[in-house]
Amino acid sequence: MNAATNQPDILKAVPALERMFRFQWEEAQHAYVLLYPEGMVKLNDSAGEILALVDGTRSVAEICAALEQKFPNAGDLSRDILEFMEVAHEQRWIHYG
């Protein structure tokens, strides 16, 4: 919980997907989705790109760096990424190891 509210800490924190959820690409919907018991969340492009890097080993800072490298013209992405991490944590899609 502390990691999600304190910015310097959160950059070092390592997010992992909650066991309840499965993250995968759905070809029929052309989108990444989160699947959970009898339900599904369709993710928008940026949420999908971020969650694709959440693997329980990369820190939030590393995820930011990887995405900025992948999308060099997008500028500073860290604010958007931190915002998403907060939502994902609130929704209990991810936890910090």
Binding site: L35, P37, K42, N44, V87, Q91
Partner: protein
């Protein structure tokens, strides 16, 4: 975020609506593997005449259905029944489904389950197990299930499901006989460490319709249960407990009907044990010929069959629905409920206060205030299913007495 977690149906419905197609894709496949079941719950959603249906699909036929549906976009697969554990090929079906990329859900009574089988399912790739309970105390549970050992077995299996690391949903169908113990139900679910709890008020189709007088709670019972559920939600959230309590209100106490299946043939595809494909698991009762996966591809069934196109759009609507400014909200309500209560499947769902048949709902509410003899419960079993079919229940009330078990 464009979409944030919520219950299945509403999330999926929004996605379906966003699609520009005439109708959505089948995102949810419910595989009713068998009608066989060791329990006899008097609100079972299986058809009254389940004992009369044809031979069950083979392992290969099921796998072919899974492949086709997955290709069309289905992401959730529910293994249901009857009791799906009765199928000896369940491990194989789970493994195939998981390989295809489905999120696999086992919807079970827990009867016939053991630790070895739970482990085998895990190995096959099963994602989640839902265990249904009939009540939170042994006596009522076993009375409703028609089994003396059911409750102890369910408790043991729910503990084992969690011990083996699955996400777990507990499902309690609530009604007159257990709704006053909703506090105990919730406490049991917390103790068993459920991730989600469905406090699903009985809906009155099929067997439950036959038993409505014995099952429908009063308005006061319902309001109390909802208030207590809300109190627990607040208390559990305060304690940081992530358990989610999902309270489903019965139609009978609403003034507007629900949007049946979030749109007929929009999201859900049910395949019954003999291969009949349905837009909703109750729809078999309607006087419509539904297609069978043994005879047609799922593409043909979903896109072209009369059964699936029947209530798409609003051409079929009658007044008061046709000119109603709320018709987009509820699409006229549940077709099965309209048919059961009015004999006309194109009529407005009588739950709607604008329906000319709404008095039937008001009468049912009034009747719930009266005492009804518990011994008159019609249990769901093969014998009663055959008798029910023979005596064509709703037409011949006198003869129905023969089909009652005590």
């Amino acid at each position: 975020m464009s979409s944030v977690g919520s219950t299945t149906a509403s999330t999926l419905a929004k996605e379906a609506a966003r699609e520009k197609k005439a109708h959505g894709q089948p995102l949810w496949l419910l595989a009713e593997l068998t009608y066989k079941c060791p329990l006899q719950c008097p609100y079972c959603s299986n058809p009254l005449d389940f004992a009369q249906t044809g031979e069950e699909l083979s392992t290969d036929q099921w796998i072919d259905v899974f492949r086709q549906a997955r290709k069309m976009g289905a992401a959730q697969l529910g293994f249901s029944g009857g009791e799906p554990l009765v199928r000896r090929d369940l491990e194989q079906l789970i493994a195939e489904a998981r390989n295809l990329g489905y999120y696999t859900n086992l919807i079970t009574s827990g009867i016939g389950l053991n630790a070895q089988r739970i482990a085998a399912f895990r190995e096959a790739g099963l994602d989640h197990i839902q265990v249904s309970f009939q009540a939170a105390d042994e006596e009522v549970n076993n009375m409703l299930a028609g089994s003396k050992k059911a409750f102890a077995q369910k408790l043991a299996m729910a503990r084992e499901v969690k011990a083996q690391g699955y996400p777990m949903v507990l499902n309690f169908v609530t009604h007159k006989h257990n709704i006053d113990r909703i506090d105990r139900i919730i406490e049991l679910c917390v103790e068993l460490e459920a991730d989600y709890v469905e406090l699903a008020t009985c809906q009155y189709y099929g067997w439950a319709y036959e038993n409505r007088e014995q099952l429908l709670p009063t308005q006061a019972q319902l309001e109390r249960a909802e208030r207590i559920t809300n109190e627990y939600r607040a208390k559990l959230a305060e304690q940081g407990n992530p358990i989610k309590l999902i309270f489903v209100t019965p139609d009978y106490y609403e003034e507007r009907p629900k949007k049946c299946m979030n749109g007929w043939g929009e999201i859900f595809l049910t395949v019954t044990p003999d291969g009949t494909a349905l837009p909703c698991h109750s729809a078999r009762m309607l006087p419509i010929e539904f297609p069978n996966v043994k005879e047609q591809t799922l593409e043909q069934i979903w896109n072209e069959s009369n059964g699936f196109n029947h209530f798409r759009g609003d051409e079929w609507m009658k007044e008061p629905c046709r000119s109603c400014d709320e018709k987009e909200n509820d699409h006229g309500g549940c077709r099965c409920q309209a048919y059961l209560m009015t004999g006309d499947m194109n009529a407005a769902d009588p739950v709607c206060a604008k329906s000319p048949d709404h008095q039937k709902i008001l009468d049912a509410r009034a009747s719930s205030e009266l005492d009804h003899n518990e011994e008159q419960i019609l249990f769901r079993n093969e014998r009663n299913s055959r008798l029910n079919t023979r005596f064509n229940t709703r037409e011949h009330d006198d003869e129905r007495v023969f089909a009652r078990s005590s």
